[in-house]
């Protein structure tokens, strides 16, 4: 079971990002949990400068936009 964090203050773009990841992950039958991180201190400590950002294994893998389908696939390829 792997956790993917979606960092953002809860605006629409962040929700869409989390949805895209969840959808693709369940389409692939991956054992991942997508979690939305909205706590400001946690967002800062993850090193996020622009949201929505996606983090996995303590590393940021995407930031600054809703990831495109292609980018979502890339992120999940590394699970």
């Amino acid at each position: 079971m792997k956790t993917i964090n979606v960092y953002g203050s809860g605006c629409r773009n962040c929700t869409v990002t989390a949805e895209r990841l969840t959808q693709e992950a369940s389409a692939r039958n991956l054992d991942v949990q997508v979690e939305k991180v909205t706590d400001l201190e946690a967002i800062m400590q993850a090193g996020v400068v622009s949201t929505p950002a996606v983090g996995m294994d303590g590393q940021l893998v995407h930031s600054g936009s809703v990831p495109t389908d292609e980018q979502v696939k890339q992120i999940l390829d590394n699970v």
């Binding site: 203050s9 201190e41 967002i43 800062m44 400590q45 996020v48």
Partner: protein, 327 residues
């Protein structure tokens, strides 16, 4: 080239709808058609072209760049970056925290944040094409100056004391912040095109209704509010018209792009330049939703000081430009 849009508005208003050119309705409608078509067409082209050019400029890169700068050049660079990197207000909080955690001086960060809503490249081009380069230059210079002075004041007051505790702590750490490195990504033309296309769609989706509202208000002012009304209420010679305009603009929540047609209509009605500037900058920079958001990272005291600084600064700008009347 831009007269195309005037011709289009002429044709729809006078030929297609057969309205009398002197009527109020015709004058308002003409303004509305000309400005919406012109602004939307300009936006599509401009956002795309500009995004193509600045595809590789992102907040991470700006942060790494600003971290190494001294305070004084930092204020100037912060304000300039604030005017060329657009971001929606929902991203200002992570950006703010990101700057603080890199221990970029708070004043430099504030210079960035203050300038950002007032100036962006889209607004600059719209201002240039609707109101001429002279006005645009004044607008940009005022915006940058206010950002730079604001940043300097923040550091002079050691305002980092008044951040929320977890951010204030960042500045108390005696060890220097870890130096940031930023690997510039080489983007292919295709990636740039993709970025620019997304950017265009996203920005247009977000602001098209604000453009309509802005132009709608502008058209209403243009068609239905007689010039005498403005001269009586906002004309020259009344010192209080500038602060009144500044305060009146606070509840208006518009972005710089949709403010342009409103400025255009006010200037066409001979509202003095200074009053127009004060009104428009206040509408763009001082907005309640934005301040509610900043409340997450600053104490009310600091927010109050920033609001007061902006309101006072806008009044001074207004009075100054009314007094020297250069347009």
């Amino acid at each position: 080239m831009l007269s195309l849009f005037t011709d289009l508005a002429d044709w729809i208003t006078y030929s297609l709808l057969g309205l009398e050119p002197t009527s109020r309705l015709a004058s308002g409608l003409h303004f509305f058609i000309e400005d919406t078509t012109k602004i939307l067409a300009l936006l599509v082209v401009l956002i795309y072209v500009i995004a193509l050019m600045r595809a590789s400029l992102n907040p991470e890169r700006v942060r790494a760049f600003l971290q190494g700068k001294g305070r004084h050049s930092g204020y100037v660079m912060g304000a300039i970056f604030g005017s060329v990197t657009p971001f929606c207000s929902c991203s200002s909080i992570p950006l703010f925290m990101g700057f603080v955690s890199a221990r970029i001086p708070l004043g430099v960060t504030m210079a960035f944040l203050l300038t950002s809503p007032m100036i962006n490249e889209v607004a600059i081009v719209l201002l240039g094409s609707l109101l001429g380069w002279k006005f645009t230059l004044i607008y940009v210079a005022v915006g940058l100056t206010l950002g730079i002075i604001g940043g300097w004041l923040i550091d002079t007051l050691k305002a980092e004391r008044w951040l929320v505790p977890f951010l204030a702590r960042q500045y108390e750490n005696p060890e220097p912040a870890a130096a940031l490195e930023y690997q510039v990504q080489q983007l292919s033309l295709r990636q740039r095109h993709q970025f620019a296309r997304n950017e265009m769609q996203e920005i247009l989706q977000r602001i098209w209704k604000w453009v309509l509202i802005g132009v709608g208000l502008g058209a209403f002012i243009h068609g239905f509010i007689p010039e005498q009304w403005f001269q009586q209420h906002l004309g020259d010679g009344q010192w209080w018209s500038v602060p009144a305009a500044t305060l009146l603009a606070i509840p208006m929540y518009v972005n710089a792009t949709s403010m342009v047609p409103i400025m255009e209509s006010l200037l066409l009605k001979s509202v003095p330049l200074g009053t127009t500037l004060a009104f428009c900058m206040s509408a763009v920079a001082v907005s309640l939703p934005e301040f509610m958001m900043l409340k997450q990272v600053m104490q009310a005291r600091l927010l109050g000081m920033i609001a007061a600084y902006l309101l006072i600064a806008f009044c001074l700008v207004g009075w100054l430009f009314n007094a020297i009347s250069i347009l």
